[in-house]
């Protein structure tokens, strides 16, 4: 096909008149059955380079993409153009995914987007035996390289696959961000005479700023005063999931319209927020970097990072999502340069901790190897056998598979891991090399913060773009830097906020039942209202179960009966409400105070904690009446919890009971690194010495620190068995990802 012929078809299907030169060069190679690596900045039109040929090929084009949001947007766009495209990912029900696979098998699709993790799915693998494939695309190809900034083990299998594909099947790998080293790594991995096409990376509409601050508070304060003044709508990236919550509560407190987004949200909430972002419903979405990759919004006017990313590539990639319409766009990076007692800058610590914690110790690798030498185990069984955290087991597993020491084998529908005969020794050299590389990249990120030259030039140089552009538009070149000049009233607001914001403990049970082939559930919301929901659909909120029952009265008899079963089932569960903590453990002075008392002989918990805990209690439970305070009997910190509970009892004028007792030895929960073992540790370990006095009572259940919630749930079970009507969990601090 000549370019002229192709452009006539392009006009008909996609409505564009012409291809850019590099687009046509790519497409032409694909038509010739070649393998191509295309490195072009966001907004270049990389998608067209596979979408157009896909419409011209006879069979199916499969696009492996790690970005669910991108799949959704592109499929919608393609369908609007009358091109038959679908996707397979974890956001859809298994039935929807199966239907998509059937459509692909029956030749009813031209384009199929699929998450790389699917390569482990047997239904998909079975289906691939019969599909008529025309082309394979690897989107975000930098994720296939361990030297890339976002390596994903799931892509390892895709690479193995590509190596096995027949030589004349066109393969396209695309990315916006690849250093020379990553480029070479991708070329090597995809092999088969691959041709690379690389474009320029400069984004002329970008306005780059760095704001150096002296404390975490200064970030919150600057944003309080300046966020409303920024033009348009944008994103705020925080380094951690818990910070998305804190920043977004702060903006809520200030009356600035924002919402929070992180990978912990269910897929419906994520979709809703992504839609809201498209429609500019909020000034900003506060998010971990899980949001934004692949979102097709051209007018993101600003992106603010409250923490530095791990490298300049990460940064370029993350800000690359902004300003795709070419209009001026602000990119602001905060950096807290206060030094701790060891002379380390505060904002260096988090990315450094990710590097340090990113790789488990060699001892833990050997633990996993040794248990697998005994028998084949699934992931959960490995966690139980080794007492390792799920995140650690995942990393170890991926590395051991990568090194050919273990393999993942399917047993029916479950996955097990097998040690391999003649397996090589664990190679730790690559781990050290990778760590060195990551530390180097982090130093480069600090260099970006401190550079006095053009920031865009810094990024382009770093990414190996050798073109000679005129780089402007940053606070080191043509723009006035932002200054910190915080008003006293703003500072007062922050202090008030700190004393009125209390994290929820999600302890209330959730009961599900399938009614007429739809899955319904009952649980409580953060305010402890009763929620009736349908999975993936709407939720309805009621003040009490009784009110919910009156609504059900109007349903047809059979359906009513089914819902009553659901309600009764729920009522038979533990009577736990969603509880409250006075603070997160790690993000305020609360954690430090607890630590002093518990582990440094600091005496009773200080009074400011009592004040704060009472405040949290009143805010959460308001005027509700309680009959009794019980507290979790101690494992290792003596009477600290008991003494504190007594003080609570005096102030609240609610009697205290000392009758919740342990019936067996427990280890401190922090010894256990995963939820399964924490649950086992406390199972059947509690009782109440005078059960008869509990019947009909409403109870406050107090503890100092809330971690996995396994203890609270176990005690909730025991108290419910003895007839309490309501249990309200109250703790001083809630941990974030096991930070004690």
């Amino acid at each position: 096909m000549t370019k002229q012929e192709a452009e006539i078809r392009l006009k008909n299907t996609f409505g564009f008149d012409h291809f850019y030169d590099e687009q046509w060069e790519t497409i032409d190679l694909l038509f010739k059955g070649r393998r191509v690596l295309l490195i072009e900045k966001t907004g270049f039109g990389k998608s067209l380079c596979f979408q157009f040929p896909a419409t011209q090929f006879q069979g199916l084009t499969v696009i492996f993409s790690p970005l669910i949001a991108l799949m959704r947007d592109q499929v919608k766009g393609l369908n609007e153009k009358g091109i038959k495209a679908k996707y397979i990912n974890s956001e859809q029900t298994p039935e929807e995914n199966s239907q998509t696979i059937q459509d692909a098998l029956n030749g009813r699709l031209k384009i199929l987007y699929i998450a790389p993790e699917r390569q482990e799915n047997q239904e998909w693998i079975e289906a691939t035996r019969k599909m008529n494939l025309s082309m394979i695309v690897i989107d975000e190809a930098h994720t296939i390289s361990v030297w890339g900034h976002d390596f994903r083990p799931a892509f390892r299998r895709i690479i193995n696959l590509v190596k096995l594909l027949p030589q004349n099947l066109p393969v396209l790998a695309t990315t916006a961000t690849a250093t020379k080293r990553v480029q070479e790594d991708i070329e090597k991995q995809i092999s088969g005479n691959i041709q690379t096409i690389r474009g320029e990376l400069i984004r002329e509409n970008f306005r780059l700023y760095v704001i150096k601050v002296q404390s975490e508070d200064e970030k919150l304060l600057w944003l309080a005063e300046n966020l409303p003044e920024l033009e348009g709508n944008g994103l705020i990236y925080t380094g951690t999931r818990v910070n998305t919550e804190i920043y977004s509560r702060w903006f809520e407190y200030l009356g600035i319209g924002t919402t929070e987004y992180n990978a912990g949200l269910d897929s419906d909430s994520r979709k809703e927020i992504e839609n809201g972002l498209m429609n500019n419903e909020w000034k900003a979405v506060v998010s971990t970097n899980a949001l934004g990759m692949g979102i097709d919004k051209s007018d993101i006017r600003f992106i603010i990072h409250t923490q530095i990313p791990a490298s300049p590539i990460h940064y370029y990639q993350e800000i690359g999502r902004a300003g795709r319409d070419g209009k001026p766009t602000k990119l602001i990076l905060f950096y807290n340069l206060t030094k701790d007692e060891n002379g380390i800058e505060e904002d260096y610590k988090l990315p450094k901790a990710f590097i340090d914690g990113g790789r488990p110790s060699i001892k833990n690798y050997n633990k996993v190897i040794n248990v697998l030498k005994q028998e084949q185990l699934g992931e959960r069984q490995i966690m139980k056998a080794t007492n390792l955290k799920s995140t650690q087991v995942k990393v170890i597993k991926a590395d051991l598979i990568e090194q050919g020491i273990i393999k993942e084998v399917l047993f029916g529908k479950s996955k097990k891991y097998e040690y391999q005969f003649n397996a090589p020794e664990l190679n730790t050299k690559t781990f050290d090399e990778l760590r060195e590389q990551k530390l180097k990249e982090l130093s480069s990120m600090i260099e970006y913060v401190n550079t006095r030259n053009s920031r865009m030039k810094f990024l382009c140089d770093y990414l190996g773009d050798k073109s000679h552009n005129h780089y402007q538009n940053c606070d080191n070149t043509s723009l006035t830097p932002f200054v910190l000049n915080i008003k006293e009233t703003t500072k007062q607001k922050l202090s008030d906020f700190r004393e009125s914001y209390f994290p929820t403990l999600h302890t209330a049970p959730k009961t599900s039942k399938t009614i007429n082939e739809k899955k319904y559930y009952i649980t409580l919301d953060n305010e402890n209202n009763v929620v009736l929901g349908q999975e993936g659909e709407k939720e309805y909120c009621f003040e009490s179960i009784d009110i919910l029952k009156t609504k059900i009265d109007k349903l047809p008899a059979e359906k009513q009966h089914q819902f009553l079963l659901l309600i009764n089932n729920h009522l038979s569960k533990e009577k736990l409400l969603n509880g409250v903590a006075s603070s997160y453990y790690g993000v305020s002075s609360v954690g430090a105070a607890l630590h002093r008392s518990k582990y440094e002989n600091g005496g009773d918990f200080p009074d400011f904690l009592l004040k704060l805990t009472l405040k949290a209690f009143r805010k959460k439970y308001g005027q509700e009446k309680f009959d009794l305070i019980v507290y979790v009997p101690p494992t290792e910190s003596g009477d600290l919890v008991k003494n504190f509970a007594e003080k609570l009892s005096q102030v609240l004028k609610i009697p205290i009971s000392h009758r919740l007792i342990k019936t067996g030895e427990t280890q401190p929960q922090k010894v256990f690194k995963n939820g399964y073992l924490k649950k086992d540790n406390v199972a059947q370990k509690f009782s109440y010495s005078e059960p008869s006095e509990l019947a009909g009572k409403s109870v406050i259940l107090f503890d100092d620190i809330f971690d996995s919630g396994a203890t609270i749930k176990e005690i909730g079970n025991v108290l419910t068995k003895f007839g309490v009507t309501k249990i309200a969990p109250l703790v001083i601090a809630r941990t974030v990802g096991g930070d004690i």
Partner: protein
């Protein structure tokens, strides 16, 4: 090699082309220094002219070519799950299997899991009935024990009875084993669980020559038998009836001049062991030691198998045996007498063979004969 695997599976599982033809293609490629990828990149005219493929064979290969990407997905999944895919040209392919089955029967691809070096060791197969008597099981245990002591690998078929005993005994005596599956290798999950430790410690190799997804079937169980015989340097027969898998396997083996040791059965046992001894198997005792075969026992032996005795007397029987033998290779008349242990003269054999149109004569001294179906003028160095 790994990028060729996609193509190997495509060739191995193309239907309606005989193994022999597939191996001939492989031999030609091997001799020309070409890869299997080169072969799949050829057009139908080259397939026809250079590789002597028929129109129907070309049609099936064309179909296989279209689904190469699909095979790529399957290969990736198999390797990922720790299965080895071993083409006949691979250094890892069992030399014993290749030698014993030759280009006519050696599967172009085998699938394995475990210690590949086991295939390079000296090996014995212990075969016999699924419903074997206690004596047969004791014999199996004895032979497996001796083999394990002598560092010989025990090959068995993972059926009930003798097969299972052979495997269990080899494991018991810390020997090495090959389990030859009557099914695709991915359908053996319970076995992989059961023999996990033996596999990862290198004492058991699981092997299948069938499509990796094929479920167990009677046909595959039958087709699996020649693979067991092929993988072994020596074959021990614990118990055989006068028909079925063991019988036909041993008969086939004897025709191919394999070393086959048959447990001499007691007079009160109802099996065809002693008849197999008569047909050329070497008699062994309960311990697997070779025992003197006395001609005067023949009568007694045959007396316990009256109906088979009469079969033996059918005049066409020997003729058929000769023809069957010649379907496998070239033989001189003298060799034919030796192999089949028949009391014909070389003259009688030559006259008989020259009278038949389906027999080809190769000039030279002595004259050699072959059946036309076995004739192939090319030197097959891959199999020599």
């Amino acid at each position: 090699m790994s990028k060729e695997l996609t193509y190997w599976l495509a060739l191995a599982h193309t239907p309606k082309i005989q193994i022999k033809k597939k191996n001939e293609i492989i031999v030609q490629l091997y001799e020309k220094g070409k890869t299997i990828i080169d072969f799949f990149e050829l057009g139908s005219s080259e397939w026809k002219n250079t590789y002597d493929l028929t129109l129907s064979e070309i049609t099936f290969l064309d179909e296989a070519k279209k689904v190469l990407s699909n095979y790529a997905f399957m290969v990736e999944d198999l390797l990922e799950q720790g299965y080895q895919i071993i083409p006949i040209t691979s250094q890892d392919y069992s030399p014993t299997l290749k030698k014993n089955l030759g280009k006519t029967y050696a599967p172009p691809v085998i699938y394995t899991k475990g210690n590949l070096k086991i295939m390079k060791e000296k090996s014995i197969a212990i075969v016999g009935s699924r419903i074997a008597n206690d004596i047969s099981l004791e014999f199996t245990d004895n032979v497996a024990k001796k083999a394990s002591k002598d560092y010989k690998v025990v090959v068995s078929g993972f059926a009930k009875g003798v097969d299972k005993q052979a495997l269990d005994s080899a494991i018991k005596y810390k020997g090495q084993s090959i389990i030859v599956l009557p099914q695709g290798i991915t359908t053996f999950q319970s076995g992989f669980k059961k023999y996990y430790k033996q596999i990862i410690e290198g004492d058991v190799l699981v092997l299948s020559s069938f499509h990796p997804k094929a479920p167990w079937s009677v046909q595959l169980a039958m087709a699996r038998n020649p693979i067991i015989y092929g993988l072994a340097s020596e074959i021990y027969v614990a118990e055989s009836s006068d028909k079925g898998g063991t019988w036909s396997g041993v008969m086939d083996g004897l025709r191919k001049e394999r070393s086959i040791y048959i447990r001499k059965s007691n007079p009160n046992e109802k099996n065809a062991n002693n008849l197999l001894i008569l047909k050329g198997g070497k008699a062994v005792d309960l311990e697997g030691n070779i025992i003197e075969y006395k001609i005067n026992e023949e009568k007694n032996l045959i007396a316990s198998e009256p109906n088979l005795c009469s079969k033996l007397e059918l005049s066409s029987h020997i003729e058929n045996k000769i023809i069957e033998l010649l379907k496998t290779d070239f033989f001189s008349a003298k060799k034919i007498i030796e192999i089949l242990k028949i009391d014909w003269s070389t003259r009688k054999i030559s006259d008989f063979l020259k009278s038949r149109q389906d027999i080809l004569t190769m000039k030279g001294k002595p004259l050699k004969f072959t059946h036309q179906s076995a004739y192939n003028p090319l030197q097959k160095s891959l199999f020599d």
